[in-house]
Amino acid sequence: MSKKHIQNGALIPAEDEQIIAELTAYLSVSLRNERSKYLKKYGKIRDFESSIEDLKPDFEPEDRSFEERIEQMLAWDMVKNYLPLLTSKECEVVLCLYVNRLSTADTAKKMNLSPETVRWHKKNALQKIRKAMEEND
């Protein structure tokens, strides 16, 4: 038996050369196909994925709306007991500013009032609420 070449430190008999060549060619093509399939499959998935670092710094996930809702509930719980003390306009201003978390300008726009009037109603409402809170304490 003639020894033709060395592969992985072992002498390969000449008669095995053909089968090794065929096997290597077959495996090479076959594994390359497998690799392509893998990359195609997981490449598609990766396109939809984004890491947390890729997100914009100002991006806030859905938690924000959840957080807002919690804050609204807490604000409502704090304010609701004092609403009967307020006039209808003051009441509306307090709900817009503290429960719906609108700005003074947005509240004014929503209520068809000037921002100054909104601030006036807010000041009066807060005075009444503060007074009622002090009395309760």
Partner: protein
């Protein structure tokens, strides 16, 4: 018939030592194909390793019968 055919046949019949010898022999090819975008894909490497053993079983019937 050469010893390599015997090695293939042994691997096919469930001889893990023979299968390991073949697997070790084709490690350079498997590892080379496991690189993608400059990163070694461990998951890809495992996928190719599993595929390798599958192909070894398939190749025995197609190549050995030809010789």
């Amino acid at each position: 018939m050469g010893a390599y055919i015997d090695l293939l046949k042994s691997a096919q019949s469930g001889d893990t030592t023979a299968a390991t010898v073949l697997y070790e022999q084709y490690q350079p090819l498997i590892k080379k194909l496991s690189w993608h975008d400059g990163v070694f894909g461990m998951d890809l490497y495992q996928t190719l390793s599993v595929a390798f053993f599958g192909r070894i079983i398939e190749v025995q019937s197609s190549i050995i019968n030809k010789i």
